[in-house]
């Protein structure tokens, strides 16, 4: 029994990490249709921001070091969002009608960002010490739930909730959804699509920063941390379906649960191979993913 609970918990934990790296993409790729290959590097920027904030705290406010994480979260969000906003203004803006080109250009951006981080912080990984109050875990029915993983789970649920409220209840969020549904019509009705694009891209990038912040709790971070997650993140968004947040949530937890189950019965390598093969096969059956917007358009 405890094995089953552990496996399910591990599945949810992996799912929450996948969800975190994919929410930002769900906005930029799912809503705006831009393939941002630099998404992984925006995650990396968030992770390094957390490192920087920790260094600042340990130097100037060592008595508050335990709570540096609460300063790191907004710092990671805003720096990544700002970077994403700049990226949109300089580059992506010109590529909205050329998605495959946006893929190539943002891949170039990701190479540059990686190299810049290597120049500033050095090529080796840096370790971020998680706050002490996240050590240990709760023991329920013989199973230990680590605080760190519970924290990430709660963090991602809160983030998704905030994004949902933002998209459905605020005027800017509604405009973003309007542009997603029908760009030309939205533009005719007086919505400045250029402004909305910039907002949406900044928000998506900011969530990538939050994901980076969360990843620092799990292990050391390095310049290539983004490349580890970028393909997984795209798979989550594609499997979940474009344009609906709930699809991304289902996709992430689905992949998380199934792959931990398979890892239990086979090796990690084979589990990854089977998982990806299953996703590819599933998309043959349902090309638009688990949840998708109904549309009557031809293309």
């Amino acid at each position: 029994m405890s094995v089953v609970i552990t496996q399910i918990f591990n599945g949810f934990s992996l799912g929450s990490i996948l969800l975190f790296v994919a929410i930002g993409l769900a906005v930029t790729f799912g809503l705006m249709g831009v393939i941002n290959m630099a998404h992984g590097e925006l995650i990396m920027v968030g992770a390094y921001m957390t490192y920087v904030v920790q260094q600042i705290f340990s130097k100037y406010a060592p008595q508050a070091l335990e709570y540096y994480f609460f300063a790191a979260i907004p710092a990671a969000f805003f720096v990544s969002a700002l970077l994403g906003w700049g990226l949109e203004q300089l580059l992506i803006r010109h590529l909205y009608h050329r998605p495959l080109d946006s893929l190539l250009a943002t891949w170039g951006v990701s190479l540059i960002l990686q190299q810049i981080v290597r120049i500033i912080f050095g090529a080796p990984n840096v370790a971020v010490l998680p706050p002490g109050w996240l050590d240990g875990g709760i023991r329920v029915a013989g199973v230990v739930f680590p605080y760190k993983r519970l924290f990430i789970l709660a963090f991602v649920i809160l983030s998704i909730f905030a994004l949902y409220v933002y998209l459905t209840k605020t005027p800017v969020g509604r405009r973003i959804r309007a542009v997603t549904l029908n760009r030309d019509m939205a533009s005719c009705l007086g919505i400045s699509t250029r402004k909305v694009d910039a907002y949406a891209f900044a928000i998506g990038s900011g969530f990538a920063g939050l994901a980076g912040c969360a990843l620092t709790l799990l292990g050391p971070i390095g310049p290539t941390i983004g490349t580890y997650y970028i393909v997984d993140a795209f798979m989550v968004v594609i499997l979940g379906g474009i344009g609906k947040l709930i699809g991304t949530v289902l996709g992430a937890f689905g992949i998380g649960l199934v792959s931990t189950l398979m890892e239990y019965s086979t090796s990690a390598t084979i589990a990854k191979v089977i998982m990806f093969a299953l996703i590819i096969a599933f998309l043959q059956w349902k090309p638009s993913g688990l949840v998708s917007m109904k549309t009557r358009s031809l293309d």
Binding site: G33, I35, L91, H94, L95, R98, P99, L100, D101, S102, L103, L104, A105, W107, G108, V109, S110, L111, I112, Q114, Q115, I116, I119, T227, V231, F234, M235, I238, S267, T269, I270, K272, V273, F276, A277, I279, I280, L283, Q284, W285, P287, L298, D299
Partner: protein, 357 residues
């Protein structure tokens, strides 16, 4: 057209004569780049003509190279286990390694296996009308699957190190300069054949259907064509080119590892085509040679900043040269043809293809 054809022949003649004016080291580099040019031609057919961007051609390149490398590995130590298997504690040759003792089997399966895989994947994907960005990302997932598998099954594939340390091919010493020159010439011949075949294909009716699929797949479907057949064919063909490139690559470079078929090489392949001009076959060849020369020059001389340069190249080409180097040539030619009386209009052509947006 006739004048242009003359230029092509001059270009290939220069490639044929390369052993006479290049040093051994430069020649082996050029041979490697010509293998890449084969992949680039296939990708140009696929992306430039048909509008399918594959981020997974590293897999076909890698499979072709691995099949050839398995033969080379077995030939180098006849009757004995490959060294990495001994280190991993395998004491018997796995059954699927056995047939690779025969060179004919190795070479034919080096082409057939990747083509079958490509046909299988693309048939189901295109039949279900998965296209554009989704296809690109799925093909990227295929790369992840294969790289994970090849690294994970270390006892069968040599893991991260890949297959290396070959000594002979068909009894000829791989390290001798003469073998290398002959292999280089074979590569040039294959490249020429691939180029001529692809050019014939693009000017034929078939090629026009490909362009029609790129520009309006649904209209092609309404006209009674089945785009799936065309797309599967051109995808498998480009996989065959990539596999052949892998075979020649492993013969000349003497090494294949998962790092050469992963996500980064697969995306770089697309860059070669983008730099050269995606809808120009000769552009793809030149793009592969120019990009890789620039890469080896910059990584030799500026190892710290060459990634910045590579990234900048990606952005620059996409933003300012959407039609690549071939695009510059075309617009210059257009300006010349229009003559002086219409320079104004010709100027706008140039700015359109150079400015991009």
């Amino acid at each position: 057209m006739i004048k242009k054809g003359w230029l092509y022949w001059l270009f290939f003649l220069a490639l044929f004569a390369a052993p006479f004016y290049l040093t051994e080291f430069r020649l082996s580099l050029l041979g490697k780049f010509l293998c890449f040019a084969m992949i680039a031609i296939g990708l140009s057919l696929l992306w430039g003509y048909t509008g399918i961007l594959s981020l997974g051609h590293g897999v076909y390149f890698g499979l072709g190279a691995y099949c050839m490398a398995m033969y080379l590995k077995l030939e180098s130590a006849p009757g004995r286990l490959p060294d990495f298997m001994e280190w991993s504690g395998v004491n018997k040759l796995p059954w699927f390694w056995k047939p690779f003792e025969h060179p004919l089997f190795a070479i034919s399966s080096a082409i057939i296996i990747p083509v079958l895989l490509a046909a299988f994947l693309s048939y189901f994907t295109f039949k279900n009308r998965i296209k554009g960005v989704y296809f690109s990302l799925l093909s990227q997932a295929v790369v992840v699957v294969f790289v994970t598998l090849f690294i994970g099954k270390q006892e069968w594939t040599g893991g991260t190190n890949g297959l290396t340390n070959f000594s002979t091919v068909f009894g000829f010493l791989l390290s001798s300069p003469l073998t290398q020159i002959v292999l280089y010439w074979i590569t040039v011949c294959l490249l020429l054949l691939i180029f001529l075949f692809s050019r014939w294909l693009t000017v034929s009716r078939f090629g026009r259907v490909l362009v029609a699929i790129r520009d309006g797949e649904n209209r092609v479907r309404f006209l009674g064509f089945n785009p799936t057949t065309y797309k599967v064919f051109v995808y498998s063909l480009s996989a065959a080119f990539a596999a052949l490139a892998g075979v020649m690559f492993v013969l000349q470079v003497g090494l294949i590892s998962p790092a050469m078929m992963g996500i980064i090489p697969s995306i770089e392949m697309v860059l070669w085509v983008a730099v050269g001009g995606r809808s120009s076959l000769i552009g793809a060849v030149i793009g592969a040679i120019v990009t890789n020369s620039a890469k080896s020059f910059f990584s030799e001389n500026y190892p710290d900043i060459w990634l910045l340069f590579l990234g900048g190249l990606f952005i620059g080409v996409v933003m300012f040269l959407p039609n690549g180097l071939a695009g510059i040539y075309e617009s210059l030619k257009q300006r010349k043809r229009h003559g002086e009386g219409r320079t104004h209009e010709a100027g706008s052509h140039v700015s359109r293809s150079v400015g991009g947006f």
